[in-house]
Amino acid sequence: MSTTTASSTEKRKAPAGERVADWADGRLGIYSLAKANMRKIFPDHWSFMLGEICLYSFIIIILTGVYLTLFFHPSMNEVEYHGSYVPLQGQLMSEAFNSTMHISFDVRGGLLIRQIHHWAALIFVAAMLVHMMRVFFTGAFRKPREVNWLFGFLLLVLGMFTGFTGYSLPDDLLSGTGVRFMQGAVLSVPIVGTYLSMFLFGGEFPGGDFVARFYSVHILLLPGIMLGLVVAHLILVFYHKHTQFAGPGKTNKNVVGMPLLPVYMAKAGGFFFLVFGVIAAISALASINPIWALGPYRPDQVSTGAQPDWYMGFSEGLIRVMPGWEINLWGHTLVLGVFIPLVIFPLVLVAIAVWPFIESWVTGDKREHHILDRPRNAPTRTAFGVAWLTWYFVLLIGGGNDLWATHFHLSINSITWFVRIAFFVAPVIAFIITKRICLGLQRRDKDKVLHGRESGIIKRLPHGEFIEVHEPLSQEQLHTLTAHEQNKPLELGPTVDENGVERKVKGSQKLRAKLSQGMYGEDSQIPKPTAEEYKEITSGHGHH
C-alpha cells in the first residue's frame, strides 16, 4: 500500500494474499472500494436488522429453490403415482405433483429443503412487512429515502406473487383451488375477463399450461426482478447511509455506530447463519404444505379450509366477506361480488405505500431526514399505520373465518358480518385510540422532562404532606426526549390581500391546510417543553 514499505522490501516476495489482492486491485480497483466502504458506519438497533432477516431469508429461498428445480418437473402431463407414499398409490396426477411427491419422499433431503424453502418464504414476506412497518412508524421513508421505500414496497408485492406462483406449482388440491380462485377473479373483470383467463391458462381452466407458465414466472421472471430490486435497495441504503434514533451526539449529518469491518461484517455474517439456523430448525420440526395429505388437484374436488398462504390471506378475506352482488345486463354478467374485492385488493396495499408522499405534500418539507422519529412523536402517522394494520388484520380474520368459527365456537355468519362492519369501523377506532395513546405518551415525556423520573421514594414533609421524590433526568435523556422536531400546521394566511381583494386559494391548498391542521394542530401534538419552561421549573422551588 505505502511506497516506503514497497521500496524497503523490494527484494522480498509479498505474501500470497497480498499478491492476490494486488492482482485484483489492478483489475477491479478493490482497494479504493474497500477504503471507501470498509469503515462505513452502521448504527446499532435491533429493529435495523429486520431488513437483514428479509435479505437472508431471500438468499435461503434462492439456494433451496435451486436445489428444488433439479428435481421438479413443471409439467401437467397425467401420470399414475407409484412412489413410496401408500395412500396415493395408483392415483392419477400431474407430473408436477408427482415430482413434488418424489422430492418429498424419495429425494435425499428433499422434504427438508422443500420445507426450508416454504417456511423461509412465509418468514420472508412476514419480515418484509415488519421491516416496512419499522420504516413506516419511525418515519425512515422521508427524504431522501422515498424511492427506496417504493423499492421495498415493490419487493413486498413481488414477494407475495412469487409466493403465490410458487405454492401453486405442486398442483395439489389446495393450491389448485387457489389458482381457480385467482382465475375466478380474472374472469370477473368486465369485458376482457374471459379473454384474459383464456390467455393466462392457454384455454379453459385448468388446461395443460399453467404450471409451466407459473414455473418460469416463479423461478425466473419475478425472482430476477426481485434480485435486481434487492441490489438497488441495498445500494441506496449504502448511498443514503443508515438512519438513526435521536440521542446525544447524533445529528442529521452524522451516523453514530460501528464500522462495517470488522464489527458489522461479523455481526451480519453471524446473523445470516442464525437466520438460516432458525429457519432450518423450524423446517425440521414443523410440517408445511403436506401435499401428500392434500392430494392431487382435480377441478371437481374441493376441501374446506382452503386458504392461501398468509400473505394472500387478506385477498381471501375480501372475497369471503363480500356480498355476492351481481348485475345482469343484456345477457352479460357483472360479478361485483368478485370484481369489487379484486379492485380493493391492490388498494389495500397502495394505501400504505402512498402515505410518505401524502405526508411530504402536507408538510411541504423538502429537507433531508436522517434522524428517526419515535412513533409517539408523529401521532397522526402512527395512528394511520395502526389503522392500516387493523384493516389488514380484519381482512385476515375474514380470510380465516371458518377456522375462527370452529376454534372459538362462533357462527361463521356472525364473523362475516363482524368483518363487514369492522372493515369500515375498526380502522377509525384504531386511529382514534392510537392517536390518544401517542398524545398521552407525549404528555408523559413532557412530564418526565420537566419533573423528572418517578423514583418511588415517598417523603413526608414537616407539615405532614407526603410527596414522591422525582429524580431529574440526565442531560442525555433530556436531549433524547426533546430532540424531535414539531411541525407547525400550515396556515393559509389572510383570505384577502393587502388591497382588500379576495385572494384565490386553490382547493388543493385548502385540503392541504386542513390535513396539516389535523396532523400538527393543537389536538395532534403536545408542545414539547422549552428550555425556558425547564429552567423555570427546575430553578425555582425544586422538586414538588
Binding site: D44, W46, S47, M49, E52, I53, Y81, V86, P87, Q89, G90, Q91, L111, Q115, W119, L122, I123, A126, V130, L173, L174, M258, V263, K267, G270, F271, L274, V275, V278, I279, I282, A284, A286, S287, I288, N289, P290, W292, A293, G295, Q301, V302, S303, T304, G305, Q307, P308, D309, W310, Y311, G313, G400, N401, D402, L403, A405, T406, S411, I412, N413
Partner: protein
C-alpha cells in the same frame, strides 16, 4: 269331587274351564313345540325392545315423544333405524345436553348393551338402516388410495382434506374425524346425522365406505405419521402462517435483539 260336581252348574264354571283349557294348551304347546333358536332370539329381541323402551322413556322421550313420533324439540325417530341410534348415542351426541346450532359429541354414558336395547326399540318403530357388523366396516383389505379419492370427492368439502373438520353456516360444523371409530364413520355415512347428507348403499356401496374408512385410518389414525414434522392441526396455511409469525419471525426477532444487544460498545468516558 262332590264339591266340584256341586259347582259345575255355577255361572262362572264355563270361564274357569276355559281358562284351564287355555292354560293347558298353552303349557303343552310351550313344552312340546320345537323351541328353536329364532324363537329364543325373538324373545330376547322383544325383551331388548322392552328394555329399550324403558331407557327411551327416561332419556329420549322428552324431546322425541313418548312413542318416538317426534315433537317440536326433536325429530321423529320412526324409520331412522338402529344404525342412527348406535351412532348418535354411541358418540354421546344423544341424549342432547341442550338445543343449539348443532349437538356436539360428548362422553357416552350408556353401555353398548343399553345402546343396543335402545336401537332395538327404535328399529321396532319402523324399518331403517341397520347397525353394521364388524365385517362391513373393518378397513382391512380396502383400497386406501381409492378411499382418498372418494373422500376428497364426497367428504373433504366439509371435513377438510384429511378429516380435521370445518365450519358450516350459523355455528354448525363438520366435526373432526380424528379418533372416530370405523363403526361410527360407517354409520354416519349410512344415516347422515345432523347436517350431514346420507350416503346409502345405493349411492355409495359398502366397499367404497370401507375404502374411505381405510383412508381415514391411514391419514388421520392413531398410527399415522407426519413425515414433515409437527402437523400443526392439519389445517393448512392459516395455522402455518400463525406458526411462521409467532415461532419463525418471533424467534428471529428475538435473535436480532440478542445480536444487537451484544455489541462492541465504546467505553463511556
Amino acid at each position: 269331587m262332590k264339591k266340584l260336581s256341586a259347582r259345575r252348574r255355577h255361572p262362572l264354571a264355563a270361564v274357569v274351564v276355559l281358562i284351564l283349557a287355555l292354560a293347558a294348551t298353552g303349557g303343552l304347546y310351550a313344552a312340546f313345540a320345537p323351541a328353536d333358536k329364532a324363537q329364543a332370539e325373538e324373545t330376547s329381541q322383544s325383551l331388548a325392545i322392552e328394555e329399550g323402551k324403558k331407557l327411551y322413556s327416561v332419556g329420549c322421550a322428552s324431546c322425541h315423544g313418548t312413542g318416538g313420533q317426534g315433537t317440536t324439540d326433536g325429530p321423529s325417530l320412526v324409520g331412522v333405524g338402529s344404525a342412527a341410534v348406535d351412532f348418535q348415542v354411541g358418540t354421546g351426541r344423544m341424549p342432547a345436553q341442550q338445543p343449539g346450532a348443532q349437538v356436539p359429541k360428548k362422553k357416552n354414558i350408556y353401555t353398548q348393551a343399553q345402546i343396543d336395547q335402545l336401537a332395538a326399540y327404535i328399529a321396532s318403530l319402523g324399518a331403517g338402516p341397520v347397525t353394521p357388523t364388524d365385517k362391513q366396516y373393518s378397513p382391512e383389505g380396502a383400497d386406501i388410495a381409492k378411499g382418498g379419492e372418494l373422500f376428497r370427492t364426497n367428504c373433504a368439502q366439509c371435513h377438510n382434506f384429511t378429516g380435521e373438520g370445518g365450519a358450516l353456516t350459523k355455528g354448525k360444523f363438520a366435526p373432526s374425524l380424528e379418533g372416530v371409530s370405523p363403526k361410527h364413520i360407517y354409520e354416519a355415512m349410512q344415516t347422515g346425522p345432523q347436517n350431514m347428507p346420507s350416503f346409502p348403499d345405493t349411492t355409495m356401496p359398502e366397499k367404497q365406505k370401507k375404502d374411505i374408512i381405510a383412508y381415514l385410518d391411514a391419514v388421520n389414525g392413531e398410527k399415522t405419521e407426519s413425515p414433515g414434522g409437527l402437523k400443526l392441526g392439519g389445517l393448512g396455511p392459516v395455522s402455518e402462517g400463525l406458526f411462521a409469525w409467532i415461532f419463525g419471525l418471533g424467534a428471529l426477532i428475538a435473535v436480532a435483539v440478542w445480536v444487537a444487544a451484544r455489541t462492541a460498545k465504546a467505553k463511556k468516558s
